[in-house]
């Protein structure tokens, strides 16, 4: 399977900020990290996001997306993706976006299926449309990172042009993580981003909040 124009447009629409999954409402703990002074500039943001992609939810999501793509009827990836959460808000971020994605994709393309966190729902939908796995996983990671960069702009961590430089720098990381995730054992998920996890937990008791996570 290779990515043709039809597939590229399908991925572009599913991962566009216009697809109503509510991605703009989630910061993956970024809001608290910024508040705590952990993201003083664009370089700090880029390092933070690169760690999430390589050693955090990015890699785990790509591994679970791949498992869901390989066997869309297997309930295990959805169960593991929902359980593999360090906090209430991260669990909400994963499951609410997955439910919204499934609802819209059912209405638009007639896909039905059990509820699943976003990477699993996307992996299943991509398989139903015969979209290639590596490109789907890389595009998912790129949309995930872009959404967090967009959150960082709203949090005044960096400006628009700097933001695009960060996204450009993270693109090869998305590609590399997607390629590695394709070869990984679906049970070998998890990471090392404990400070990111702590940020999302501290966010739950933060008093002033723009984001739901």
């Amino acid at each position: 399977m290779s990515l043709d124009a039809r597939g590229a447009l399908l991925l572009a629409s599913w991962l566009s900020p216009a697809y109503p999954v509510g991605a703009f409402a989630y910061s993956h703990g970024l809001e608290q990290a910024a508040e705590a002074g952990l993201l003083p500039d664009a370089a700090a943001l880029q390092a933070w996001l690169e760690a999430i992609l390589r050693h955090g939810a990015g890699r785990s999501d790509a591994v679970l997306l791949a498992a869901a793509w390989r066997d869309p009827d297997d309930p295990a990836p959805a169960e593991l993706a929902a359980a593999l959460q360090p906090s209430a808000e991260r669990a909400l971020e994963a499951t609410a976006q997955g439910e919204a994605f499934a609802r819209t994709t059912l209405a638009v393309r007639g896909h039905s299926g059990a509820p699943a966190p976003l990477p699993v729902a996307l992996g299943r939908a991509a398989r139903r449309e015969d979209l290639p796995l590596a490109e789907t996983a890389a595009a998912y990671l790129h949309a995930f990172a872009s959404n967090l960069v967009s959150a960082a702009i709203r949090l005044s961590v960096l400006g628009q042009t700097e933001a695009q430089a960060v996204i450009a720098a993270l693109a090869p990381v998305c590609e590399a993580v997607a390629a590695e995730a394709l070869a990984a054992d679906p049970e070998d998920v998890g990471g090392a981003c404990l400070a990111v996890d702590l940020s999302s937990i501290f966010h739950e008791t933060q008093t002033t909040r723009l984001f739901r996570s």
């Binding site: 359980a83 070998d188 090392a192 404990l194």
Partner: protein, 293 residues
């Protein structure tokens, strides 16, 4: 004492690095049952380098089991299987005799493998309170913790981790660590966790998003009827510690009805200063004796 038990592994001279180390294997199983209002030993099995000791505990109605790796640490190719089961209505507390040290593995040996299965029956309480795992430079450990609870069983569990021996200026340059948790209630997976450290672990832990330059971490959970109260009590306790920039940082949340706590700390003492009161608060009593020896 345990460092001395395996001197060749801990301080292997470079010229002898490929000398074959003896592999340690062991299997330990312990279970409890309720009789006359007290938790008693139901079954005990131990083989190889795995030992379960049952100290006399004069307070409370729980059975306490102290697990010990008599090989004095883990190296490449070691294999341990532990099973602890609290039968219906009983209360089983498991801890370890000492910190578990993960020493340098030779490249051809593969990682040490540790599998732990924990089960709690109807109305039972199971506590998994091992002391720290200390990962030394070159260490390789693949660990998996599978927890299966009856719908109304209670569980408290923790895994504290220390990277190297900071007091001696040692850093972990190259290591591999996998720590997977799978927690099921009534057969349904409700919480999972995976810690994955690989390669230059010192450089990885230095990043702001991972350990933020700290060398100690702990994950602690409470599942069952007391989970919601455990989130509230943990938040109150952890809020009493100093905030960002402090020697230890910890916070509590909930996922699928399971109370979860993450802690990052500058050193082993700072980790214990936060972790010990948290566990004591959750269990409503002091920690098992090996923790204070």
């Amino acid at each position: 004492m345990l460092d001395a038990a395996r001197p060749a592994t801990a301080t292997a001279a470079p010229g002898r690095a490929l000398a074959r180390q003896p592999r340690a294997e062991g299997e330990g199983r312990v279970s409890s049952k309720i009789r006359a209002g007290r938790s008693r030993l139901d079954g005990l099995y131990q083989r190889g380098s795995a030992k379960c000791m049952l100290p006399t505990v004069y307070e409370g109605a729980a059975l306490e089991a102290v697990l010990l790796n008599t090989a004095g640490g883990l190296t490449g190719g070691d294999r341990f299987d532990w099973t602890a089961e609290a039968g219906a209505g009983s209360h089983l507390v498991t801890t370890t005799q000492t910190a578990e040290r993960v020493y340098r593995a030779q490249p051809h040996e593969g990682p040490a493998r540790v599998r732990t299965r924990l089960r709690a029956g109807p109305g039972a309480t199971l506590e998994w309170l091992p002391q720290e795992t200390i990962l030394f430079d070159g260490g390789a450990l693949d660990r998996r913790l599978e927890i299966d609870l009856a719908p109304d069983a209670a569980f408290i569990g923790v895994e504290p981790l220390i990277l190297g021996r900071a007091a001696m200026g040692e850093t972990v340059r190259e290591a591999r660590f996998r720590d997977a948790w799978r927690l099921r209630i009534d057969g349904r997976l409700v919480w999972a966790d995976g810690l994955r450290l690989e390669g230059d672990v010192g450089a990885l832990a230095a990043r702001a998003a991972t350990f933020g330059g700290r060398i100690c971490a702990a994950t602690a959970v409470v599942a069952g009827p007391g989970a919601e109260a455990a989130v509230v009590s943990a938040r109150n306790l952890l809020a009493s510690f100093p905030g960002p920039g402090a020697e230890a940082l910890g916070a509590a949340s909930r996922v699928n009805g399971v109370a979860t706590v993450r802690i990052l700390a500058r050193d082993g003492r700072a980790l214990r200063r936060m972790l010990a009161p948290l566990l004591e608060l959750w269990r409503g009593g002091s920690l098992p004796r090996p923790w204070t020896m």
